[in-house]
């Protein structure tokens, strides 16, 4: 993997240079099958799509790449007619169209196979395939015709052994996906969107999936293919569109020849340089006993045995994509999941496995990824959110001493410079970064010694991140042990002293953060050790 510096595109320019390639990529016979232009979709508080362009030619496999949160799922929901865009135009075979409903999209010939298979367990295979467009005369079904047609479709998909009359709920996940695909083909389909179809398949079945995809494209059907696995995109993809932060970072790149580094650089290219606090003098082997020690901790089907130590004053980072097991590891350490092997020790004493209570009592604190639903009472005040973990400290004979509660909470939030400095303010009205500070203040008040941070800057403005990084570093300097999980590689590298790189539940690298750079980590998480 010796390559020149990757071409980092000017991140905020509306028209990255790589985008030019696409304009020439239209099919020879007129307009492309699908042309989406400047699609914008906002949800309360989030701009999920901020001007996305996508162009798909007839009969091609068009791959959609992007990190989590880049907007892939929202984009395909727009394409499926499930979300209506706020702005932007969609052209279908040269004609402007509005995809007002799933049925409208289906009538045009767009079928979507979602990642969470949306089939009905209580119906049979054939009933699922033809649900919504049944063979029926005045409402009375012709089960025989539906079953025969389903059997034909399943045979075409290479799975004649699935019985059309079988209740769907009894099928394994891979077979359900085949049924989902049969449903897509039961329409007169021109474009099939597949959202990470290989995620539930094992090796042989992936081959079969690829055979189906190439059969489809040979018939002139286009496929929009979403996958995290670059090797798959190299095998079946024709062109690649890369999304980043709700925008098209590059469209129409050749799938087979674009260097991995370029793709990775497009996925991660940063618009703002993060400012990380200075690390204390890096020590190769931190002195003293670790406060948190994890020995061979594993959960079957989620992550392989992992070993790690965190010393007081040290920040250890876990880097990996979604599905790499990073959140699962954190939650297992915290006792929210029961490990199938291994143990967690705090100060050398093993914790009772699968008990959050034991973990908290031993001094562990978790700032969860889903802050708003798992970490905070959004409607309550800052004070109540901070004092939550040790309310009994402020109560006398069952009565709460609100004044003491308020003062204690305020001391902690001031320490973290939570803004605005108003303990009675509902947490809902704070910015993302200050909400995170409220979570941290809670654990400080509790007297926690090991902080587990899951995506601490998710939903935090770029500007406010530097401040949060400084807070985390300061807490470590004051003697806390910090275990940090983040899908943002620069964050792990910039903040942590030591880094574990995870890929599909396995630790593929462990070492000082200073010995790694972003591209090396991305190589590790995406394709395994390049050796």
């Amino acid at each position: 993997m010796v390559a020149p510096e990757p071409p980092t595109p000017p991140p905020d320019s509306p028209n990255p240079p790589t985008a030019d390639a696409s304009t020439t990529a239209e099919g020879p016979g007129g307009p492309p099958l699908l042309l989406m232009d400047g699609i914008v979709k906002t949800f309360p508080g989030v701009r999920a799509l901020d001007g996305v362009d996508l162009e798909v030619a007839a009969g091609e496999v068009h791959c959609l790449l992007g990190q989590n949160g880049a907007g892939k799922s929202t984009l395909i929901k727009v394409l499926a007619g499930a979300h209506r865009p706020d702005a932007g135009t969609i052209h279908w075979r040269g004609e402007p169209v509005t995809l007002a409903s799933p049925i409208a999209a289906m009538r045009l010939g767009i079928a979507t196979i979602y990642q969470e298979l949306d089939l009905v367990d209580g119906l049979s295979v054939a009933e699922n395939v033809f649900l919504g467009h049944e063979f029926a005369t005045v409402g009375v079904l012709h089960p025989g015709r539906a079953q025969a047609a389903t059997a034909e479709l399943l045979a075409r998909l290479g799975h004649p052994e699935i019985s059309p009359s079988r209740p769907l709920g009894e099928l394994p996940a891979a077979a359900k996906q085949v049924v989902s695909m049969a449903r897509a083909l039961s329409h007169d389909v021109r474009l099939i969107v597949m959202d990470e179809p290989s995620a539930v398949l094992d090796h042989d079945e992936v081959d079969n999936l690829f055979r189906i995809v190439s059969d489809l494209t040979a018939d002139g059907v286009s496929v929009v293919y979403i996958s995290h696995r670059l090797e798959e995109i190299r095998r079946i993809g024709d062109r690649v569109t890369v999304l980043k932060d709700g925008r098209t970072a590059a469209r129409g790149l050749p799938a087979r020849t674009t260097p991995t580094r370029d793709v990775v650089a497009l996925m991660t290219g940063r618009s703002v340089e993060y400012v990380f606090p200075e690390r204390p003098e890096a020590q190769a082997q931190p002195a003293g006993e670790p406060v948190l020690r994890v020995e061979g901790l594993a959960r079957e089907g989620e992550f392989a045995p992992v070993d790690l130590d965190v010393h007081p004053g040290e920040i250890v980072g876990l880097a990996g994509l979604v599905g790499s097991g990073r959140t699962e590891i954190l939650e297992t350490i915290y006792g929210a999941r029961r490990p199938t092997a291994g143990r967690v020790l705090v100060d050398g004493r093993p914790l009772r496995p699968g008990s959050v209570q034991a973990a908290v009592r031993a001094g562990l604190g978790l700032a969860p990824e889903e802050r708003k639903t798992q970490g905070l009472l959004m409607l309550e005040s800052v004070t109540r959110n901070v004092s939550l973990s040790c309310l009994n400290r402020f109560s006398r004979a069952g009565w709460l001493d609100s004044r003491r509660e308020r003062e204690a909470a305020r001391a902690r939030t001031r320490e973290l410079s939570l803004h605005p400095d108003d303990p009675d303010r509902p947490v809902r009205t704070l910015s993302g970064g200050n909400q995170q500070k409220a979570v941290l203040a809670r654990w400080l008040l509790r007297g926690c010694r090991v902080l587990l941070l899951d995506e601490p800057t998710r939903g935090v403005d770029v500007g406010a991140r530097a401040e949060l990084y400084a807070v985390i570093r300061r807490l470590a300097d004051e003697g806390l042990a910090v275990l940090l999980v983040s899908s943002e590689v620069p964050e792990v590298l910039g903040l942590a002293d030591r880094v574990l790189v995870l890929r599909e539940g396995r630790t593929v690298h462990q070492g000082p953060a200073t010995e790694l750079d972003e591209h090396r980590v991305l190589d590790l998480v995406m394709e395994g050790s390049p050796s």
Binding site: P102, I103, M106, L131, G158, P172, A175, D204
Partner: protein, 356 residues
């Protein structure tokens, strides 16, 4: 999930026969085990054997007809309530709606001195409108059906009493026995016929007819597919173009239709209606549906199961009498039966899934 790696067959490879068999053929025993009503049938047999042993007269044919008659009045309503539950919703107003249907017929006919068939028709329209209101409110507001139908339940309870008192100045309606059309309506909704020496109520025929119709709708019509789909995965159903709102409104109107039938029986079985009747019966319908294998979460169940559930109800309510126990304890047994049946159903389902 065991067949994940065994079953699929790559292209070009000859499918191994064993892999085929796993997905195609299943023994009759296993298939019947997977039916929703299986647990209820086992339970019905157990209850039957139990009362056969403890109550001497339980096995006489006349006792059986009494049991059937008692089952049928609950069973008629359990059928649409089961369908509604498969569609993922409840109707707490079903019990009092029966009374409302009866009151409308009675009071309209009496006040207008019209042929009772005119009253019956008006009652049908009013009841269907009530069902439509339930379904429409549910799909429009997005509130849980528990809240919506609790509201309808309370409003109907109030209307039943209020109108009755306003019009007839008592808590029951005036007799309509001498009005035009009474006897023919009585024949249709509340007569009895004899098979051998056994007297059977006409409601048993209504019940069997409704169970047959509902089973056919569930298994052989497009609407049946939609009912399973809206209950088992409303989002999936919507995404493929199933008219979710229309299906749910239709289900509530189905409950209303059966409430109308039940209400006419209530009225024509005598000739007056007590305005306070029906309260609490909605739970009996739900119990029959749940004992019959319907999942509270929707997407699973059968009309035949609801009939078996109603039959268990009938056997228990009359069996206690034949066993000469104090009927005060009836609800206690019913509650125990509900818990037991639900546990058995859950256990059977797990077994069926594990062996699939």
């Amino acid at each position: 999930m065991t067949s994940a790696s065994a079953a699929p067959v790559g292209p070009g490879k000859t499918p191994p026969v064993t892999g085929d068999e796993r997905l195609v053929h299943r023994s009759l025993a296993r298939r019947s085990l997977a039916r929703p009503e299986f647990g209820a049938i086992v339970g019905a047999l157990a209850v039957f054997v139990f009362f056969s042993v403890v109550a001497d007269s339980f096995l006489q044919t006349s006792s059986m007809s009494t049991v059937l008659n008692a089952s049928s009045t609950i069973g008629i309503m359990a059928v649409p309530v089961a369908l509604l539950m498969i569609g993922g919703e409840f109707d707490l107003s079903a019990g009092v709606m029966v009374t409302s249907a009866a009151l409308v017929t009675s009071m309209f006919s009496y006040q207008m001195t019209a042929n009772v068939w005119l009253g019956i028709t008006v009652s049908l329209l009013v009841t269907l409108a009530l069902g439509f209101f339930n379904g429409f409110m549910l799909t429009r507001t997005g509130l849980p059906s528990f809240i919506i139908t609790l509201g309808t339940f309370l409003m109907l309870t109030g209307l039943n009493l209020g109108f009755t008192r306003l019009i007839s100045d008592s808590v029951s309606t005036k007799s309509i026995a001498d009005m035009d059309g009474f006897s023919s309506a009585h024949d249709l909704f509340a007569s009895q016929f004899e098979i051998g020496s056994v007297k059977i109520q006409v409601t048993v025929l209504w019940w069997l007819g409704l169970v047959t119709l509902a089973t056919w709708v569930l298994l052989r019509t497009r609407a049946g597919n939609w009912i399973f789909a809206v209950g088992g995965g409303a989002d999936a159903a919507r995404a493929v173009g199933v008219p979710v709102a229309r299906t749910k409104i239709g289900l509530y109107m189905g409950v209303a239709l059966c409430a109308w039938i039940s209400g006419q029986h209530l009225l024509f079985n005598f000739d007056v209606v007590q305005s306070g009747e029906g309260v609490g019966n909605e739970f009996l319908y739900i119990i029959a549906a749940v004992i019959g294998g319907c999942l509270m979460t929707g997407g699973y169940g059968s009309a035949i199961g609801s009939a078996v559930g109603a039959f268990i109800f009938g056997m228990t309510s009359k069996g206690i009498v034949y066993a000469q126990w104090n009927p005060d304890w009836f609800k206690f047994f019913l509650g125990g039966m509900l818990l037991l049946a639900t546990l058995v159903n859950a256990w059977v389902r797990r077994r069926a899934e594990a062996s699939a």
